[in-house]
């Protein structure tokens, strides 16, 4: 029998497919999975720690060594939404506890020798955050889509210069202009107003949103709109029915990024807001405990503060994965 190498007509038994070269797919997959798991654990560990802290009782929080297994408590959340005072003496506290008209949360607080005086500031601050971050995100994305579309589709005199100008607003860290903005806002009476912060965040986000969305809209072939135009639609209708549905991915991604920025912004919020319009980020580090640092309350605040971003990102996760654009246009 002739050897394989010398027989010209012998079937080729060695695969030359590139994807079969190297490690077996199974092994590669396992390694990949392992890396993902390690990364996930690394990233999630602080979050898990925060969740654990927020569920610990005041005595468990400061326990050394830290308790991994503990009895969960929701005291921290009660602390978070209330304003409390310490009873001056043990006797007064016991007398208060003995009353039978106490609500369950009052009882919980009373166990710590404290009395609820009023609803805390945190819910209001959270609401402020929602109003300011939400509104500025809507404006950033709305104006962003419109101007990105205009830049993408129409001939605009000085288009390149304008785009560069928009980009240039991001060329120095916003914090660098805090003092001028603070003075300007005070002069204009915009400090400590919702409108002031919404305007500021929209301005910061707009350059980002225009550039990001322009990229997405550039990728939508203009034939779609032209087809809609000859099919009997106006430019605006074509935009709404044909362009927007295809730009959803980009809009979702932009929304998430704009929201995260506005939601997390600290420096300007700390400087330009006080009681009435104060947002959550500058409030969390200034949470004052009663008689001690309430780590569990701070953890609870951070957890509550984190939730909206998690929810928004989770809700839009499908669109955040790029590459799901399915074009029915064939490049010739």
């Amino acid at each position: 029998m002739a050897t394989r190498a010398s027989a010209p007509n012998a079937p080729v038994t060695i695969s030359t497919r590139v994807d079969k070269v190297g490690l077996r797919p199974k092994v590669t997959r396992a390694i990949r999975a392992l890396v993902v798991v390690i990364l996930t654990v690394l990233i999630l560990l602080p979050v898990v720690w925060m969740v654990m802290t927020s569920l610990k009782s005041p005595s468990d929080v400061v326990a050394v060594p830290p308790k991994i297994i503990f009895e969960p408590s929701i005291e921290s959340f009660i602390f978070l939404v209330t304003e409390r005072v310490q009873f001056p003496t043990r006797q007064e506290a016991d007398e208060f506890r003995a009353r039978d008209d106490l609500k369950w949360y009052e009882e919980k607080v009373a166990e710590r020798g404290q009395k609820i005086t009023r609803v805390g500031d945190f819910p209001k601050q959270l609401r402020n955050s929602f109003i300011i971050a939400g509104t500025s995100t809507i404006f950033s994305v709305l104006f962003g889509v419109l101007s990105a579309y205009a830049f993408s589709r129409f001939k605009i005199p000085g288009e390149g210069d304008l785009l560069f100008f928009i980009l240039s607003t991001r060329m120095l860290p916003p914090v660098a202009v805090t003092i001028p903005i603070f003075l300007m806002y005070r002069e204009l009476g915009l400090d400590n107003t919702y409108f002031g912060l919404i305007l500021l965040y929209t301005t910061f986000n707009l350059s980002f949103s225009v550039w990001l969305l322009k990229g997405f809209i550039d990728e939508i072939p203009k034939e779609y709109e032209e087809a809609a135009l000859v099919d009997g639609y106006t430019r605006l209708q074509a935009f709404r029915k044909v362009v927007l549905p295809q730009a959803v991915t980009g809009i979702a991604a932009t929304t998430v990024f704009c929201f995260i920025f506005a939601w997390n912004e600290y420096a300007f919020a700390a400087m330009l807001t006080s009681d009435a319009t104060r947002t959550a980020p500058p409030s969390i580090p200034s949470i004052q405990g009663v008689g001690r640092i309430e780590w569990e309350t701070i953890a609870a605040a951070s957890l509550v503060f984190l939730m909206p971003v998690v929810i928004v990102t989770f809700a839009l996760r499908k669109h955040l994965l790029r590459g799901v654009t399915f074009g029915a246009i064939r490049k010739g």
Binding site: P221, Y224, V230, D231, Q246, A328, I329, R330, G332
Partner: protein, 356 residues
């Protein structure tokens, strides 16, 4: 259905002139083909008719009424794009129904359904109606795209190389269907292509464009048999027309660097130097042929064979029916059909033979 008139249309894109003083009339119910190479201005003409581009000067008339101020929706044209451009977020049904749901038309639901069904049946895509467009093959996409045009009763169909992205078999099939569709509907159709076979087989009239100019307008027969310039002559017909440098001496035609000599034709005023055009089917190898040459190459295509004959410095292509026994290197004799010669000025323009 409408007639279309383009009056002295000029369109520039920056420095580049896409259409240069172009005038054209397309009759009602005519299948009109714009033929030309890439960059000739065919697509721009179509887009100007549709209102997707605005001409710099000139006017577009539908049935004699100026459309210059009208947006695409008001012109009521149907456009079939080269790249299908089906809306990817909609099903086939919704794609077909999309023009009918336009606020301009606002047809009742039953009517929309009926028209979509009819169009789908005509194009044999009924089984695809529920599908997403991304899951279609190229041929299916182009059918849907054509369907989107025929659900309406537009004034004009504008088709921008609708067949060029399809494979050869599909192209042939759709070519026949499109012509059939146009005949049964009696629609005015402007069809853009760079493919001369499509132009010759489908058109009632053809306009040949190059660099924004119209070189010739005529029936396929006129374009093929009396090309106005050497450009038109070489663009239309495969294999290409034989073009040879020739001169007139002593009342006889001498083909340069060749043994071909022809007696002059009456009723024609030839300059001293000119170009002589001979269609390959007019070069006929016969044993009693007047001229001789050596076969340089044969290309058997089955139905016919292309024979390249070297005569002096020139190579003449000849088209003979069927498979021929002529082999490479053979010395053969051939005739040239004298009545079907084409004469061109050295600049490329046709020299018209006075009716003899």
């Amino acid at each position: 259905m409408s007639s279309i008139t383009l009056q002295n249309i000029t369109k520039r894109f920056g420095e580049k002139t896409a259409l240069n003083d172009l005038s054209l009339t397309i009759q009602d119910q005519e299948f009109f083909v714009l033929l030309g190479p890439t960059g000739a201005g065919k697509t721009t003409s179509l887009r100007v008719i549709a209102g997707l581009e605005k001409q710099d000067t000139g006017d577009v008339l539908f049935d004699g009424n100026s459309m210059t101020g009208a947006v695409p929706a008001e012109r009521d044209v149907a456009f079939v794009f080269q790249q299908y451009s089906l809306y990817p977020n909609m099903s086939v049904f919704d794609n077909l129904a999309f023009p009918l749901r336009s606020p301009l038309r606002k047809l009742p639901k039953g009517e929309i359904e009926r028209r979509v069904k009819t169009a789908a049946e005509t194009l044999r895509i009924t089984h695809l109606l529920e599908r997403k467009t991304a899951k279609l093959s190229g041929g299916e996409m182009q059918r849907v795209s054509i369907g989107r045009a025929i659900v309406r009763e537009p004034r004009v169909y504008l088709m921008d190389e609708p067949l060029s992205n399809l494979d050869a078999k599909l192209r042939e099939a759709l070519r026949i269907e499109l012509v059939h569709l146009q005949k049964t509907q009696g629609s005015t159709t402007v069809f853009v292509t760079h493919n001369q076979i499509e132009a010759l087989t489908m058109a009632q009239r053809i306009a040949v464009l190059d660099e924004g100019h119209i070189l010739q307008v005529g029936t396929p027969h006129e374009i093929y048999d009396a090309p106005a310039t050497t450009f038109v002559a070489t663009l239309v017909g495969t294999p290409r027309i034989n073009l040879m440098q020739a001169s007139r001496q002593d009342g006889r035609i001498f083909v340069k660097d060749s043994s071909v000599r022809l007696p002059p034709l009456t009723g024609i005023d030839l300059p001293a130097d000119f170009l002589l055009g001979v269609r390959p089917e007019d070069v006929r190898p016969t044993n009693s042929g007047e001229f001789s040459g050596k076969v340089a190459l044969t290309e058997p295509l089955g139905v016919e064979t292309i024979v390249h004959i070297r005569s002096g410095e020139n190579i003449l292509t000849s088209l003979v029916p069927g498979i021929t026994p002529i082999g490479v290197g053979d010395e053969i004799r051939f005739d040239i059909v004298r009545e079907r010669l084409h004469y061109f000025h050295p600049t490329g323009n046709r020299i018209v033979v006075a009716s003899a």
